[in-house]
Symmetry: none
Subunit: 204 residues, 4 copies
DNA sequence: TCCTAACCGAGACGGTACGTCGCGTCTTAGG
DNA sequence: CCTAAGACGCGACGTACCGTCTCGGTTAGGA
């Protein structure tokens, strides 16, 4: 018996959850979040724009942060590409990173992400949730790529993969959050190039 | 006549600003900010702890963010080390980065910085101020180091220094903000090593 | 269909207004107003004493003055006596005035009324509201009494009733606001006596 | 040796009080008070308009109320007419009351007076000062007039003069403070007529 | 066909913090 | 000794969101 069936077994009496409200809330939150960031987005405004009541929002999302998390997840992580295997570290990383970087630069996600990061600093539980949904999946994909490169002998066995991941992703977050330079495709290629070269060092 | 003299010429009428209040406000804000981050720090609480009135705070700092900026700047950037010239890119970068990384890891600055970054996303003016005081000075120091390395012929003339800076600093911000791993000295050495190796690539 | 039914037809959606809060606010305001007058009564203090939030007060009373107006109206005008017809101007006026004067003298209403009058000077809308609720109802009662006296032939048809009302009520307000002498029952009788004599003049 | 000389004997060292400031403060306060009443008049605004510092105002006037008192006294009581003796109660009262009523109606004094009365309710000391400067002098003038009428036998010895004064002045304050009707000359004549008739009653 | 559980909107509630204004006091430099 | 300038501690203002709580109504499955 599958998990899904097990969950569906619950008796579910009473009026079912309104799908219309769920979608309207996510849509309203999305617009407001991308418009002004987490702080500028009030639950009252979300409720009003969605045509629902605040109680309905709080019934399904315990906090504004978790609502934002789901909003972002829904429209962002939806298009996470399947890992492709090009046979080279640089190729694999580029295939992984370039669509993500393009998406990051397309809309003002920085506003929302910075807000979520800020909340995460003071709320360990939320931080955990945030990492589990946004950070680790992407790092996992890159980890596999590095693992394959090690297996192939392309890079050293003792490569510090975790630090390499911080270098790789950190560079994009740096531009996303500080806004001092755009997240261009060229930047993505340069970053991947430097990271690959960095871990490919051959100390004599 | 020097600038200093010219400034001193100002008549300085009226009761002078209270140095005691200034220090008390910065001290109170510092404690509260490191304790709970930007959001948890209310101007009311700062005023009460400092033994001043809110009006006095707002007279000198237009917003909580700018107060936090000055607080952080005062106690953080105070100990920015003078650039040292070791004759090697790796040595220079390590001398610059290691004290900074040590400081970053010593106290919960992540809370405050994440908060400031969040505000910067929605307030271009504040973002500019933030970059001018926190980001650019440090990048300038590293820029010089890279410039010397290019001059020495240690790295290629066409090195993308700006991207290298994003790699370098981004890695530290990544750990600071995401909290998935500690900002150890070992991490600093690894990051610098990878960055140096990355820009030292010798394409055949 | 009666008006009452028509009003009841209103759907009354949402959480109903808290009767407990309404009463607590009026009670708290009453105590504070009689204790220290309008100026010394802060909305913060009313909210704290009533155990409500300021927002709840402002939701139902747009200003401190209108809250004070309702407070006073509730506990003061509640006991406005029905007009009695003694068949003589002096008797009717005494029956109307003496309970009112007794009430005026019993508690420090002067504080509140003086405050309200002060606000009324600068706020025509509030002045209108004040007159409609406090002044005109009492003047109307006295107007009727004078009208009956004219009808009976007790006083001249061309009596300037409005001025007589100013004389009558003004004397009490004079003592109430200036506090130079108490509002005794004897004073009430004297005032009514002089006013009745004044309008009963028979110029030869 | 006169009192005046004795006072002038004081050594008076240092810079003398600035007459210019004194006048400017009174003028500024007068404009602001007549413009918006006591509450709307801030000491900051008075100081700014007068071109003085707040400290200078507080050095010579202990509070806003006492400043307002002097302002009003200066421009109002200045023209208190000398008592005239017409030989009849009505004539004497009219000579006393009509110029005062005309002045009352000419400018928005109600605003200021209502404000002062409000403050007097909560500050017995100020109430005393207010009565001594504004109320009693005028009542004294009227008291003398009633005394002469009693002496002449025009009215009864046992006339309750104090109540008569409350009737007389109260009628004007009533219109001044409630604003329901104008302070016309006709009203002054009517009031005086009724008061005189009231105290002239000849009970058989 | 009714009962009853779970949902829904509307909107009032107790709180906390906001940024501003006015008070009366103070601390300077200067006439 | 007085003055202007202006900063100071204090306390209240009226507003905005927070997350919670009633309400009257709606929508389903089970009795």
């Amino acid at each position: 018996m599958s998990d899904t069936e097990a969950l569906q077994e619950a008796p579910r009496r009473g009026r079912p959850r309104s799908e219309r409200s769920r979608k309207a809330i996510l849509a309203a939150a999305s617009e407001l979040l991308l418009d002004g960031g987490l702080d500028s987005t009030s639950m009252d405004a979300v409720a009003e724009r969605a045509g629902t009541s605040k109680a309905t929002i709080y019934r399904w999302w315990p906090s504004k942060e978790l609502l934002a998390l789901e909003v972002l997840f829904a429209e962002w992580d939806a298009q996470r590409p399947a890992s492709s295997d090009t046979g080279a570290l640089a190729g694999d990383l580029l295939a992984l990173i370039r669509p993500w970087a393009r998406q990051l630069g397309a809309r003002p996600y920085g506003r929302v992400i910075a807000g979520l990061l800020a909340r995460a600093q003071s709320d360990p539980g939320f931080a955990e949730e945030y990492r589990a949904r946004f950070v680790e999946p992407r790092r996992d994909q890159a980890r596999e790529i590095f693992a394959r490169a090690i297996e192939r002998g392309e890079i050293a066995k003792r490569t510090d993969v975790e630090s390499a991941l911080d270098l790789l992703y950190g560079a994009f977050y740096q531009r996303l959050l500080h806004g001092h330079a755009p997240l261009t495709d060229r930047f993505a290629r340069t970053v991947v190039g430097y990271v690959v070269a960095g871990v490919s060092q051959t100390p004599i």
